[in-house]
């Protein structure tokens, strides 16, 4: 690694560490996770109503494998679908499996979208799976996930 790029990278990490010291201490002191705390199993059950989740290639999840800063992690979800009134994606749910409140966003789509896509930026408290669940118009639930290694947590 070149000295210049190494120093740049190191500087960025150091700056984050200084800027966010309260993040780590808050997480240690307090186990409770805020007003909307919900774990992964409960959240998934609330979405699917007990139906099976099917891992599928039709759901494409784009998220970085390593996120230096957990406060801003780009996530993009695309679901293969013709998006006609008969066959479309009704909803895309994005979950961060180990955040205090795992729910990030529920996106309710319509055929007017033309394409089942949702992009955003999420906060991740630590290394974990980011999960996308697509609710299809035929009542099935397709899913895909991506593990994201977080160097500095962005929660709290």
């Amino acid at each position: 690694m070149e000295r210049r790029s190494f120093l740049k990278g190191f500087g960025a990490v150091a700056a984050c560490a200084i800027a966010l010291p309260h993040v780590a201490s808050a997480a240690e002191e307090k186990k409770s996770a805020g007003p909307n705390e919900m774990n992964y199993e409960t959240a998934v059950a609330a979405i699917t109503g007990g139906k099976a989740l099917v891992a599928s290639d039709k759901v494409k999840m784009e998220a970085p494998e390593i996120a230096e800063n957990g406060a801003v992690v780009p996530v993009k979800v695309t679901v293969e679908s013709p998006m006609t009134s008969k066959d479309h994606v009704k909803a895309i749910h994005v979950l961060a499996s180990k955040n205090g409140n795992v729910r990030c966003a529920n996106i309710y789509l319509t055929p007017a979208n033309g394409e089942a896509f949702f992009g955003t930026r999420v906060k991740l408290g630590g290394t974990q799976d980011v999960v996308a669940i697509a609710e299809m118009s035929d009542g099935t639930f397709l899913t895909a996930k991506q593990n994201v290694k977080v160097t500095i947590g962005g929660c709290g």
Partner: protein, 108 residues
């Protein structure tokens, strides 16, 4: 709450699928963070609902939580049916609400 709507790409025709980027300036407080000086918890404050409407017909509704980053970005696809008004209504958990409108003007 300041907001921004971007249509990508800039030039599009009726029938094209474009991306709508919606950004809102919002702290997205989780309710878990503490005030550094007083040690008191900062109350949760986050956008919890965003609606996208085209000519007053709902195209996408989002229910979101505090896990979205500060100044959140939400991006969706939209198949342009023709000219019209795209309205985005965002509401946070404290009842603050903002409405922004942009014109959809297909070329050719």
């Amino acid at each position: 709450m300041k907001t921004l709507i971007k249509i990508k790409p800039k030039d599009y025709k009726a029938g094209d699928i474009v991306k709508i980027d919606f950004m809102a300036m919002h702290p997205m407080e989780t309710g878990m963070r503490k005030n550094k000086d007083t040690g008191a918890l900062i109350p949760a404050e986050y956008i919890d609902e965003v609606k996208f409407l085209f000519n007053d017909t709902l195209i996408t509704k989002m229910v979101i939580w505090e896990s979205l980053s500060v100044n959140p970005l939400m991006s969706i696809s939209f198949k342009v049916p023709g000219a019209g008004a795209l309205k985005v209504i965002a509401k946070d958990n404290k009842g603050q609400s903002v409405e922004s409108t942009t014109q959809i003007t297909p070329k050719g």
